[in-house]
């Protein structure tokens, strides 16, 4: 999940502590990283539009200790130019954000209107609706914890995602119950995220194990009789 790409705007550091570290006490540098979801966003999303004023106001050389990063698994990242969005993995985005090097661009779905739509859709339909990201819970938590100042209406988003989650969990429980009641043999877990499967997984598999054994009791055991000589 931490390699999931996320859209970030990275900004330069104004605090003295950081400038001490990197020896360039430039003031108010801003740089843009494009962390993440930009591929799926298409043309509808323009991080530069939102941020360009800031960026243009503070043109300055990069304050990161590296102009680009070489990573073993993912290849090169960067170049990290101020004012340009860069797509980097979430772990790096969080790290840079914690050091106040950047501004995060929340993924397109992390928006009150879109999330309301998703929540209403989820409540309306009986089956699970596709989530904008397979890691929507994890990303919401990470981004809201570390970058809530970059996300407009963070509290509302938190509530909306939690609502969606609760709806889905209730649905999951309902379908698990009907699965057991009708003694089905298999089920499709379309559109369920790993997080959701994980919370109920141990319980459900154990219960199904028990049920399977109790069901085999229904058939008179032929093997036991054959040993009776």
């Amino acid at each position: 999940m931490h390699w999931e790409r996320s859209l970030l705007l990275l900004k330069g550091e104004e605090q003295k502590s950081a400038s001490k570290n990197y020896g360039k006490p430039e003031k108010g540098t801003q740089m843009l990283f494009d962390l993440g979801f930009s591929k799926s966003l298409g043309n509808s999303y323009h991080p530069r539009d939102q941020m360009s004023r800031d960026v243009l106001r503070h043109p300055s050389p990069l304050q990161l200790p590296y102009s680009h990063l070489q990573l073993i698994f993912q290849g090169d990242l960067g170049p990290f130019n101020p004012g340009l969005p860069v797509e980097v993995p979430v772990w790096l985005a969080i790290n840079l954000k914690q050091r106040q090097k950047c501004r995060l661009i929340p993924p397109a779905w992390m928006d009150v209107e879109k999330l309301e739509e998703i929540r209403d859709q989820e409540r309306k339909e009986d089956t699970f609706t596709p989530m904008p990201s397979p890691y929507y819970m994890e990303l919401t938590k990470l981004l809201l914890n570390y970058a809530s100042d970059n996300i407009p209406k963070a509290d509302e988003i938190r509530t909306l995602v939690k609502d969606t989650w609760d709806t889905r969990m209730a649905k999951l429980r309902l379908s698990a119950d009907s699965f057991v009641r009708q003694q089905e043999a298999h089920a499709k877990l379309d559109n369920l995220t790993l997080m959701e499967i994980n919370t109920i997984g141990t319980f459900l598999t154990q219960a199904l194990d028990h049920m399977y054994k109790l069901r085999t009791n229904l058939q008179p055991s032929g093997s036991a009789e054959s040993q009776d000589f």
Binding site: V180, Q183, M195, I200, G201, T202, F203, A207, H210, L214
Partner: protein
């Protein structure tokens, strides 16, 4: 979060699981039965040491309360040493109760190993076997929803009232559900990334060495 040991689950079938503590305890449960022939030198095993009759043998026709493991060993459809009756909770009257509403029955009081014991009863060639098996399965299915809901919703609560009426098998299931819930809440509060002491190590520290030597 690491467990000190992983309990071996019950066998839940005509055969019990040799390594399961639950199954060992379950096989101690008593079964009502009747001696179909004289059983010499078995009185001590059945706790009827000085019963009426000759010495330590059990006369034909006497009523017995035999533990499950012994009943399984003695039961033989050809030699007819003993006959086994159904415990009342598996009889017709109770089966009606279960089919009416399985949720209201206190399975813990009615013998804490309802499912395992019921499965073992199928060994005794009772004509009602299919009904018993069906009833046990249906009971489990009907009680499933309540166990799932209560185990997935009781966070930071006293669960003793929730599990009071559950059979041992259901309690294990309840614990599994609770673990899922607790792990999720733990993650949500950001505690999942903290490294904690293994419960094995914690328990080891509590134990006194003198006791271990003793």
């Amino acid at each position: 979060m690491a467990e000190a040991y992983f309990p071996v689950g019950p066998g839940l079938g005509p055969e019990e699981n040799f390594l399961s503590l639950d199954d060992i305890l379950m096989s101690q449960e008593k079964l009502p039965g009747r001696a179909e022939s004289n059983l010499p030198r078995l009185a001590f095993a059945l706790g009827q040491g000085s019963g009426a009759g000759s010495g330590d043998s059990i006369p034909e026709g006497s009523k017995l309360e035999i533990p499950m493991w012994l009943a399984k060993g003695l039961h033989d459809s050809k030699r007819r040493l003993i006959s086994v009756e159904l415990p009342k909770i598996y009889k017709e009257a109770w089966r009606t109760v279960f089919s009416a509403d399985a949720n209201v029955v206190d399975l813990h009081k009615m013998g804490p190993y309802y499912y395992g014991f019921g499965s073992q009863l199928l060994n005794f060639d009772n004509p009602e076997n299919p009904e018993i098996a069906q009833c046990i399965l249906q009971t489990f299915i009907n009680r499933f929803r309540r166990i799932m809901d209560s185990s997935q919703n009781a966070y930071n609560e006293d669960t003793s009232s929730l599990v009071a009426r559950l059979d041992e098998l259901e309690r294990a299931l309840f614990q599994a559900g609770q673990k899922g819930l607790n792990d999720f809440q733990c993650w949500e509060k950001g505690q999942a990334s903290q490294i904690t002491v293994s419960s094995l190590v914690q328990n080891y520290g509590k134990r006194k060495f003198t006791e271990m030597d003793g």
